[in-house]
Symmetry: C2
Subunit: 424 residues, 2 copies
């Protein structure tokens, strides 16, 4: 009987070993030029295309297992790859390769009276850990973003996608290695033991930042247990406030789009606040109801349409991710701001108004990662923000907030150029 060596080692020691090798690989990766990193990612994309056969074959193993295990049709669809989807994955890697390299960018420069020439220069963060579920495209997407910014990465995918992830990872790394990137810069944790996740979360000093990509259960667990900094958002309880001075047509379009364009994304509106002085409330709500949206309102909202059901206290703190919206009628901007301060998950909140002073007060007061005037909250997205990609949206208060792409995967160092200064 052959025992695979990893079966003799604890998940903790496997993760420790991976992280140490990633740290060692990150130094040569960080030393690569912009062009070298871009070429390596194009090579990884080409290798994914060349490996279409084995990747789809591995994926069919995962699909068979998922079917036998009775996973939902939606989960199986998220898991499934075909040649079109794989081409999409390769294209996304090419797109990341073509983004500008944030490493080496000078954030600011100064020369204090001591004559030292100071500059703050973007550098990679170091070793990142990505913990994700079902969608195998994350293996390539996240790895590409990490490598573009000079970071080594430890990938930990869901067990239901283990064959797909292994095949995608193998192809991706084959491309990187051919371009001079150390293989250890992008590693898939080689055990499905759940204790490996705990070991990653505990690896302060070895892993510099954890990014969970998946459902609320995963994010909640990661945020609760991690000793390593986490970049994530737990809830997207996004508000849209229709101010008394809102253009009625614009208000209706924005409210409808914010809720109904896609109800399952984190930037979807969950609560609609309507000013008591706003003149077209019934029309805005009627349009949502006509489209099949369930509307849960306070007493004053219910009076506007007989189809509106009562909202309970829990509704103001619920991320539905479905065609359901909670609606409250508020008396003025102050009451809207107070509601948002109490219930927002600090993701994206919107005011619709033609009153510039109200807009500025809303922008200044609302304490969320993204605050919008006269636009749909569904724009909360790295691509729409011109970042070219997105590793996720963060609602934490440090490092990076809102959509996070390459810049959020960097930190900075101070470079100091002197001419022999000693300190008096």
């Amino acid at each position: 009987m052959t025992i695979h060596p990893d079966q003799e080692r604890s998940p903790e020691s496997i993760v420790l070993d991976c992280a140490q090798r990633a740290r060692a690989a990150q130094l040569p990766l960080a030393a690569l030029s912009d062009i070298q990193k871009a070429e390596a990612l194009h090579a990884a994309a080409a290798s994914l295309r060349r490996s279409c056969g084995p990747i789809l074959q591995a994926n069919s193993c995962d699909i068979d297992a998922a079917t036998s295990a009775g996973l939902s049709a939606a989960m199986i669809d998220r898991l499934r790859l075909d040649s079109d989807r794989l081409e999409g994955i390769a294209k996304a890697v090419d797109a990341v390769a073509d983004l500008p390299d944030p490493v080496g960018q000078i954030i600011d420069q100064s020369t204090p009276p001591n004559g030292l020439q100071l500059s703050r220069v973007r550098v990679p963060i170091g070793v990142l850990g990505i913990i994700y579920e079902s969608r195998p495209n994350v293996t390539a997407d996240a790895a590409a973003l990490c490598v573009r910014a000079g970071n080594a990465v430890l990938l930990r995918g869901g067990s239901e996608a283990v064959h797909s992830n292994t095949a995608i990872h193998a192809a991706f790394v084959e491309g990187l290695v051919a371009s001079g990137v150390p293989a250890d810069a992008v590693q898939l944790i080689p055990t499905q033991d759940r204790a490996a996740v705990g070991a990653m979360l505990a690896a302060a000093g070895l892993i510099d930042m954890i990014i969970p990509r998946g459902g609320k259960g995963l994010v909640e667990r990661v945020q609760a247990d991690a000793r390593v900094p986490v970049l994530a958002h737990l809830d997207g309880i996004c508000h849209t406030y229709l101010h008394s001075a809102a253009d009625t047509a614009m208000a209706g379009d924005i409210a409808f789009n914010a809720k109904m364009r896609r109800t399952g994304i984190c930037g979807a509106m969950e609560t609609l606040l309507i000013d008591a002085q706003f003149s077209a409330s019934a029309a805005v709500l009627g349009r949502l109801l006509d489209a099949g949206c369930e509307v849960r309102g306070d007493a004053r909202a219910q009076a506007l349409d007989s189809r509106i059901v009562p909202a309970g206290d829990a509704d103001w703190g619920t991320e539905y991710l479905e065609p359901i919206v909670s609606v409250r009628i508020v008396d003025g901007l102050g009451e809207a701001l107070a509601h948002i301060a109490e219930h927002s998950s600090h993701h994206t909140d919107v005011i619709v108004t033609s009153d510039d002073a109200a807009a500025e007060q809303f922008l200044n007061t609302v304490d969320s990662a993204i605050v919008m005037v006269n636009a749909s909250s569904q724009f909360a997205d790295g691509g729409e923000f011109g970042l070219g990609a997105e590793i996720g949206i963060a609602t934490g208060r440090l490092h990076a907030r809102g959509p996070v792409a390459l810049e959020g995967l960097t930190t900075y160092k101070w470079c100091v150029r002197g001419s022999g200064q000693v300190r008096p």
Copy 2:
């Protein structure tokens, strides 16, 4: 018998209550203008000056207790206030008031093809926790920096300074409140129970960032136990590398200043790496030895001067904070970089060289918060970096690195100005 209400409550519930009141107070604080916050801090400084009598009286209680308890003369000196030192504290608060307000600064702006006008705007972090030892000036210094950047703050000083801290805090807040800042924006944790520190470290979501100010034991405990992000550095194992192409006079001056100007600060050099091709090694080391510095060297360094004692393995990882330096002779830049990669605490590392290519390679490769060319590591200081002040130096990899002043006490939000955009 009167029981003080806090004696009936657990340290955890006291900290929880303080943090919730701080969170509530932070919103009105954040809404104050630049001028209002500056005026409030000048009022706090004036109040400190007016309260000179009670503050010095409170301080004498602490000094008496410290003397009875047999504290060292150095600790008692750190604890002691007089009218000059108190004037220094008030002046420092005035100086922070006069620094530019980082809140509201626009980091960058863009307009992607969807026409949304995006800007990233600096905002306060929220509620900060400062945990510090003995020096009562931190009560005013740290509170001033936090308030200047719109943050509420929970202060937890050492028990040996409890009377001084209480008096300084009372005077400081009296000035703030007279200027419209809520009293709860600056709180001193009202219990000396050590469990209160644990409660602060565990208060993820209530406290947004912890800053420890004190000795290595304190920082180590905070970094090990905190669930809240920590801004700090543990060690300052700073290297100076004298390259083969270093100007000999400059190299001698920088090495001497980096070690001997003040040996007890985190930016002091602890290890001197000398290139085997550098021509003035014996002179550089002789100057340190003549000044009473203990030099611990490898075999090649010992051959240069009979006064040099052997360095053990532990010396390369020791922050002496005393007139002691470890010295290693290295063969070229690569060996110096490898030594620094292995032993640096990522605080400040220096190369002395006239070779621009070597300087740039050092700047690019060394992975520390501050990397210097041709200057003394003792310049690692917020004041010397033109930041006007310093809450501390950070060696963590996220949020802020190196000297941290007001900007490091802010985060940002995305402000989005639309004209009715809905997402296709």
